[in-house]
Symmetry: C2
Subunit: 261 residues, 2 copies
């Protein structure tokens, strides 16, 4: 497949690499920053790059829109104007309905979504083989194309509609963004005791390893689920002076106690 990659951030970079690795051809990279477009094009062996919508190659099979959620509409409008409206256009966003294309560029006929459910970072390689890829499309034949493409890079491909994707994106905030923030709170706590964050890593890894064995609601341990009020009040005392973190402790403890098991 000939693919134009629109965007040069983390998602575009990691997804572009995965697609090239399975033999797909990135024919062009677009980024508002011509420098970034050029760098990513070079990394992906793409023969062309541009920072202007007018300069987009109109002869690709797929236009993959991997830009910030807020910029997808603008990109769609540009594609719609551009003679590319007969081509398949898919965005990679978890938070954005497929309808964003209809609203911004009603003339687009072939629209879809290609959402890898993963967190990407500049400093770390990503192995796509296990990453869930959530695909959707307005037309059946386009869904087949996107599904086949996704299956080339991952064993976990799901047909997911807008509502389900919004649900997944919300869940991802809890299990990824908020979890990472709890790790950051844990780090700040141990640093006050002159201990390194690394001392917590085996515990963190085991917390996740246990998920292979069963549902997290059946795995809950700790003072909250034991209703161990003495430990809870001592912990709240230790957090004296950090009112927001104290409130997080109180609220999560309450919610664990209230959860049906």
């Amino acid at each position: 497949m000939k693919i134009v990659l629109i965007g040069a951030g983390n998602v575009a970079t990691h997804l572009g690499r995965a697609l090239v690795e399975v033999g797909e051809e990135i024919v062009q990279v677009f980024s508002r920053s011509i420098l970034k477009a050029g760098q990513l094009a070079e990394a992906l062996n793409a023969p062309s790059y541009t920072n202007s919508m007018e300069g987009l190659n109109p002869n690709a099979d797929l236009y993959l829109v991997a830009v910030h959620d807020s910029a997808i509409g603008e990109v769609a409008a540009g594609l719609g104007k551009n003679g590319i409206w007969k081509k398949l256009v898919a965005h990679t966003s978890g938070a954005t309905p497929m309808q964003v294309f209809r609203e911004a560029a009603p003339q687009l006929e072939h629209i879809g979504v290609f959402y890898p459910l993963q967190t990407f970072s500049k400093i770390k390689e990503t192995d796509f083989s296990e990453i869930p890829i959530c695909v959707d499309a307005a037309q059946k034949e386009d869904l087949e194309v996107l599904t086949a493409l996704a299956q080339k890079i991952s064993a976990n491909v799901y047909g997911i509609d807008d509502a389900q994707r919004a649900t997944l994106h919300l869940a991802a905030v809890f299990v990824n963004n908020f979890t990472n923030h709890l790790f950051a709170i844990g780090e700040s706590i141990v640093k006050k005791g002159d201990l390194p964050f690394q001392i917590l890593l085996p515990l963190i890894k085991e917390t996740v390893a246990k998920l292979e064995a069963g549902s997290p609601k059946d795995m809950q341990t700790g003072p909250a689920v034991r209703h161990d009020e003495a430990t809870i009040s001592r912990h709240l005392q230790q957090l004296e002076g950090q009112s927001e973190v104290q409130e997080i402790y109180r609220l999560l403890t309450q919610n664990i106690m209230d959860a049906k098991r």
Copy 2:
């Protein structure tokens, strides 16, 4: 070393196994439940078990108290009465000061702590080799004994005082108990969208894998750290009707925004 293991719960079971594996000798298991004492004694090849403090073997080198925090004082009092006051007695609790022994049984001369910083479950084996073991003792020679014993089962042994251990225990609640609860919330969210929890596992694993590359506070991603108000209000709308979870979302989002980076 001849060890009497007091307790037959998760910590006693996993720690007992690890000690036997490196050649230590569990000479007796105590549990209030004679059935559990007998089962664990059999599993650990211990020649004796009991459910009475009076029945404790007085000739061991170490009495390892792995019972619920609230029962440590009572066990200590029993040991104090029992002619065992000349022997080394250590508890395995993260939340309990070493002083619990002094208060319950001032006659105990050799007291210490042997706290494995890990979450244990019945359904899963535990590899101790990487688990941080936090040791403490009132007397220097006892600290050396406990340190040497800990080093036989783990590469990560730390001398940790009461204050530091309390700090670690608090941090562990955030990175283990609360994190697991966020996973449970994530599960309940995806189940409402008729999706399996397994779809979130690669994301969860990557969230943790990234910790090897840097500090969690530098890894934060998501709508909160981007101050993406549109996504945040859509997520809060999706949580309509679940006021506690909505409040958790709001508070964690606020705390991520307020965190110094």
